[in-house]
């Protein structure tokens, strides 16, 4: 950890963090504003939903829309959120290490008494800070919209809404963790991006296919995305603690490996 480097890296990346955070917050806010419309016509919506095949609904997290948590999970956390945060995690993980090695700027950062471990620990912290910021903004967007802009008496359980964000944060801490690990392994930014992006896409696809095709739902045991089920968090159906511990551990282990590997490897600077 180096404070001056952290400050400078945060300044460089803040625009990107705020961009993702704002996009995510605005989406949640708009969806929250739409919730009362749906709430009033819930019966009709439920009838319409019954027309869709069940696996598809499961894959999209659309099983039920009766509470705010379920609604927002279906409308955002089950799909767009995963895509947006997936892109964010892979992109920033690659930018924070592999890009600096590929372009040679790492030579400057490693020209002083500051060690490799300190530089990478700082970069990991920058990534986590960005992820926290995005989730805070998203949570705030939903909370403020529901509290002050929408006139609904019940149905909004903020505990669940918080957990949806919290476990989501841990999911992308894990995704970012293995992306940082890949980022620390490669000399070429594009190769690192292709591999980290490819793996993330594969994990996401495995979760989707496992939900759609019940015969092969075992495939979901091999992807971290299956540990994040916002719709079921909203229904209090899942063991949040267990998923949190597993996702958090993946992230921590990946970060520790990132530090160890980067310390040992030859750098083409």
């Amino acid at each position: 950890m180096n404070m001056s480097f952290y400050t400078q890296m945060m300044r460089i990346n803040l625009k990107m963090f705020l961009g993702f955070g704002l996009g995510s917050a605005i989406y949640v806010t708009l969806m929250t504003l739409m919730f009362p419309l749906l709430n009033d016509n819930m019966e009709e919506f439920d009838k319409m939903i019954e027309l869709f095949p069940e696996p598809l609904l499961r894959a999209l997290g659309l099983e039920s829309l009766s509470s705010y948590g379920q609604f927002i999970s279906a409308e955002y956390y089950g799909l767009f959120y995963l895509i947006i945060l997936g892109i964010f995690s892979v992109m920033s993980a690659i930018q924070l290490i592999a890009r600096l090695v590929d372009r040679g700027s790492m030579a400057y950062l490693l020209s002083t008494r500051v060690s490799r471990t300190q530089i990478i620990a700082t970069q990991i912290l920058v990534f986590v800070s960005g992820l926290v910021l995005i989730h805070l903004m998203t949570f705030a967007g939903g909370y403020i919209a529901a509290e002050f802009l929408v006139d609904i008496e019940s149905n909004i359980a903020f505990d669940q809404f918080f957990y949806i964000n919290f476990v989501g944060f841990l999911l992308f801490f894990a995704v970012g963790g293995y992306s940082l690990l890949i980022s620390a392994l490669f000399n070429d930014e594009r190769n690192a991006f292709a591999l980290a992006g490819g793996i993330t896409f594969l994990f996401y696809g495995m979760d989707m296919i496992g939900k759609l095709v019940t015969d092969i739902d075992w495939i979901r045991n091999f992807t971290p995305f299956s540990l994040y089920e916002p719709g079921r968090i909203a229904n209090d159906e899942v063991d949040i603690l267990m998923s949190s511990i597993i996702l958090g551990s993946i992230g921590v282990i990946a970060c520790v490996l990132t530090l160890l590997i980067f310390k040992k490897r030859n750098l083409p600077l």
């Binding site: 001056s4 400057y108 008494r113 500051v114 600077l269």
Partner: protein, 296 residues
């Protein structure tokens, strides 16, 4: 000993690399590291900076192993990378602040003095700077924390002749303050002006470590002499010097220390023009090799 490199070896998968590189740089010395592009200069420097682990041998800075004790070894260094690659989206000031934070030294007066000397606007975004200005920012970052040892990888590339002179003044000033330099270059002229000693590297092996004056005397110079008369050209070609006819009226004369003969011979001719033809590094190498071969 400020820098100590012994049997340093790193062979890459394509067979290239550096092999048994050995040299020392003493306290207060300006040491040149000469070699054509791709000869292993940067690879050697990467070991000194702790970016690579030697397969054999070692590199030490002030007795500290450049790999195992890399951060303490680097704490004595000012490093100017060969290819300047900054972080995106910073101004010169922000970059220098960050570097000062990493170096742990905030000598604002020295930094301001350097910026003043090199004449550039640090408030400008680095992305918009010209190559030369970027190089200046790099030079300030290298010098501002007043390190004991400077490692400069091709420092004057990208600078105009005026700035090159200014840079050489800066090096000489620091040398007068007792600082040590390792400076790589592919141009003999650049090394000649500043260095006390130089090592020549070729295909990953050190072929010579010499006092700079010895290297200078080894350097062969060629002059193109234009005369007015074809008969004179014919007689000049007969002289004892190494001559070669370039065109009808011009003769190329190669000299190696025998400047007196050159002057005395030409005094008998009507010379219309003389132009000097500096020898390239490759040619110095070729000379060096032919000398080695004759000896062995």
């Amino acid at each position: 000993m400020m820098i100590e490199i012994k049997d340093l070896t790193q062979e890459f998968s394509n067979g290239k690399g550096i092999f048994d590189v050995t040299f020392d740089v003493e306290d207060g010395e300006v040491f040149g590291f000469l070699g054509p592009n791709g000869s292993g200069k940067s690879t050697t420097i990467r070991h000194l900076m702790g970016y690579m682990k030697a397969q054999k041998g070692y590199a030490k800075i002030k007795g500290l192993d450049a790999w195992h004790q890399q951060s303490s070894a680097r704490s004595h260094l000012g490093y100017l990378p060969g290819e300047i690659a900054f972080l995106d989206g910073m101004t010169g000031h922000q970059f220098l602040n960050m570097m000062a934070g990493l170096q742990g030294v905030h000598d604002k007066a020295r930094r301001a003095d350097l910026i003043d000397k090199l004449q550039f606007d640090p408030k400008e975004s680095i992305r918009k700077m010209s190559k030369g200005t970027k190089q200046k920012v790099g030079i300030v970052a290298t010098f501002m924390h007043d390190p004991d040892i400077y490692i400069l990888d091709e420092p004057t590339s990208g600078l105009d002749p005026l700035m090159q002179n200014l840079f050489i003044d800066l090096v000489m000033e620091e040398k007068a303050r007792g600082k040590t330099f390792l400076m790589s270059s592919h141009s003999f002229a650049e090394i000649e002006r500043t260095c006390d000693r130089a090592a020549i590297i070729r295909n990953g092996r050190i072929v010579a470590t010499e006092n700079i004056h010895e290297l200078q005397s080894m350097q062969r110079k060629a002059f193109n002499v234009t005369l007015t008369d074809k008969k004179e050209v014919a007689s000049l070609l007969e002289s004892e010097m190494k001559t070669e006819k370039v065109d009808e009226l011009t003769v190329k004369i190669e000299l190696q220390g025998n400047y007196d003969v050159f002057i005395n011979t030409l005094s008998g001719y009507h010379v219309k023009n003389i132009s000097a033809d500096d020898q390239s590094l490759e040619e110095i190498f070729m000379d060096y090799y032919s000398k080695e071969e004759v000896q062995s």
